[in-house]
């Protein structure tokens, strides 16, 4: 623990009570986010990445959701705050960017109104001040002619422009933590690169920590310092980004990295088919016993079917697997 921790999650468990049964979307995860760093969270769809982010800000309707554990932000447990207290945190100290830039802005309000609404809410400034700050934020996220754009409705903007506006809104109160839930997934590649660059730059300027949730490993490699790999609600591996890419410990991480198409790979290792992880993610209602990855794991052993894997700590890395015991 060289740096001090901004957000620390202890045994976070989020369950949904549904008619079919209880779904455990996040199953007792532990994560630390240090000041000024970017933590990447990767995993397949439905592994609990987004639910983790929503649980941090308590944005899940409860019931049906039930959130247990501790989420300490600057030493205060977000899960035990009153609704008014958590509302003070939302958008102010912790804000969030969503995956869908096309639908995350309200179509009936101008972009400027939406950004200044957030500013007015947390900074107690007048309408005019909030408006000029909103325009300034649009300028910072490099929206061309921001004073005109602020008076326009979202439908006139492209996906990339809207995502910039979302980032402007999320960063308008200079949050200390930004939860970015697949911020580039819906954008095309050139725009993705611009958004990544923008987030990198703003992270330095505003000095926020970022939790970057994605299934795009390239984005993780670009932005994150540490990575947590999630599978079916558990963090199966956590490591500094270089270590993870060079030497993945968990077979699932191995599979994930192996399934990325690699331009030029053919040249080095001969004609080789793109790898895949066999099978499908099982339903959260039928979580496999013991290690939940064993039915799909190429290196599964007898013990993987019988006992829950231990958490192995290995020079600054954590892995949830019998292989390394």
């Amino acid at each position: 623990m060289r740096q001090d921790s901004l957000l620390s999650i202890h045994h976070l468990r989020t369950r949904f009570h549904t008619y079919e049964g209880v779904l455990t979307a996040v199953d007792g995860i532990d994560l630390e986010v240090y000041r000024g760093e970017t933590l990447g969270v990767v995993g397949e769809s439905g592994c609990g990445k987004s639910v983790t982010a929503l649980s941090i800000l308590r944005l899940l309707a409860s019931p049906p959701a039930e959130i247990r554990g501790k989420v300490l932000f600057d030493g205060e447990n977000l899960l035990q705050m009153s609704l008014d207290e958590i509302r003070q945190i939302r958008g102010n100290s912790i804000s969030m960017i969503f995956q869908e830039p096309m639908t995350s802005l309200n179509p009936v309000l101008t972009v400027g109104e939406q950004i200044s609404e957030a500013i007015k809410l947390h900074q107690g400034v007048t309408r005019e001040e909030a408006w000029s700050k909103a325009v300034e934020m649009l300028r910072i996220v490099q929206v061309p002619s921001p004073d005109i754009r602020a008076r326009e409705y979202p439908h006139k903007m492209s996906g990339g422009m809207r995502q910039r506006a979302m980032i402007a809104m999320a960063l308008s109160c200079h949050p200390r933590l930004l939860l970015a839930d697949e911020p580039t997934t819906a954008l095309d590649v050139t725009i993705q690169a611009q958004i990544v660059e923008l987030m990198e730059r703003l992270k330095e300027e505003i000095r926020t920590s970022i939790v970057l949730i994605t299934h795009n490993l390239g984005l993780i490699a670009e932005m994150a310092k540490r990575v947590a790999v999630m599978y079916m609600g558990k963090v199966v591996e956590e490591a500094p980004v270089e270590d993870l890419f060079l030497e993945p410990l968990h077979p699932y991480t191995h599979g994930l990295l192996g399934s990325i198409p690699w331009i030029g790979r053919k040249m080095k290792s001969g004609r080789k088919q793109l790898q895949e992880i066999p099978g499908m993610v099982p339903s959260l209602l039928e979580i496999p016993d013991a290690c939940r990855f064993h039915p799909r794991c190429s290196r599964a052993m007898e013990i993987c079917r019988k006992e829950e894997p231990p958490l192995v700590q290995k020079n600054g890395r954590r892995v949830l697997c019998w292989l390394w015991k």
Binding site: R87, F98, T103, N106, E117, E152
Partner: protein, 296 residues
């Protein structure tokens, strides 16, 4: 490149707002039925506003010497059993009917809109409670409900508006709740919550404007139904009371003379018919204009 985008942006705003209006107008013009409906409503509105000019006398003053006269130059639509001009009473009746139409949807919206928003947004027990009451009210045919309410509240213009209005409340609750349910799941509502926006602000600033289109349509259709319901109550003699000229009541009193003076019941009937037709056609037209799925 930079300058180019700028000039484009500067040039656009007014023209686009303009062209959107023009596009909607063009759409309305193409939709002949909706246009006809709107013109009908407009005519009724003008008649209601200019009633004292169009018919200078007192529409309720009886003149028994001239009872049940056929249409003539003096009374273009004839007279009723008390010798009052039917044209005059229809003209003044349009005021009553439009007042009822507006009053009824106001009651419906005033009660139905907030309840529907709350029910759809909060869900859970609140939703369950509101929806079971709505179910109960919807189980009655609308007119029967209005009838029962009149039995409790009593007759008269105000009570007619309240009774018919309440009988329409469940329709608004259902409609608003349904729309709220779908808007609530939109990312921008989640984003607003993630920014720390209060529920009240989310409901009024983010959800309400996004459910306005179906509500507007229902309001227009609802006005037609309101006129019909109020006329029905008037016909039964438990709506607006004489001597106030009201189409339904005129129809009811004309019923007795259907064979020897059919005009007494016919003309108010025609007035009701075209008013309801006007609101229904323009409601359909509004749907075509406001509902993006019907974009031509």
């Amino acid at each position: 490149m930079h300058e180019m985008t700028q000039t484009q942006v500067i040039r656009n705003p007014h023209r686009q707002a303009d062209s959107q209006l023009r596009r909607r107008w063009a759409k309305l013009r193409r939709n002949k039925a909706a246009l006809f409906g709107s013109v009908l409503i407009l005519i009724y509105l003008i008649i209601a506003l200019l009633a004292p000019i169009l018919f200078p006398g007192n529409p309720s003053a009886p003149n028994l010497m001239k009872s049940l006269e056929r249409p003539s130059m003096e009374h273009p639509l004839g007279t009723d059993e008390l010798g009052r001009s039917i044209l005059g009473r229809i003209i003044y009746g349009s005021r009553v009917s439009l007042l009822i139409a507006i009053g009824v949807v106001m009651v419906g919206l005033l009660v139905g809109l907030p309840l529907g928003l709350i029910s759809g947004y909060y869900g859970g027990k609140v939703d369950f409670g509101i929806q079971r009451v709505t179910d109960t009210l919807l189980a009655f045919p609308g007119f029967l409900l209005a009838l029962a309410l009149v039995a409790v509240l009593g007759v008269g213009l105000k009570n007619t508006i309240i009774s018919v209005g309440i009988s329409m409340v469940p329709i608004y609750i259902r409609l608003v709740r349904g729309c709220t349910l779908s808007v609530r799941e939109q990312t921008y509502v989640e984003a607003a919550r993630a920014m720390g926006t209060r529920d009240m602000t989310i409901l009024i600033r983010h959800i309400l404007p996004n459910v306005m289109a179906p509500i507007t349509i229902q309001t227009s259709l609802g006005m037609g139904t309101a006129i019909l319901f109020a006329a029905g109550l008037g016909f039964l003699g438990i709506g607006v009371q004489p001597p106030t000229p009201e189409w339904g009541a005129m129809l009811g009193s004309g019923r007795a003379y259907l064979f020897n003076a059919p005009h007494v019941a016919t003309f108010p009937g025609i007035a009701i018919f075209f008013a309801v037709l006007g609101f229904n056609l323009s409601g359909d037209g509004l749907r075509d204009i406001l509902d993006p799925r019907f974009k031509l």
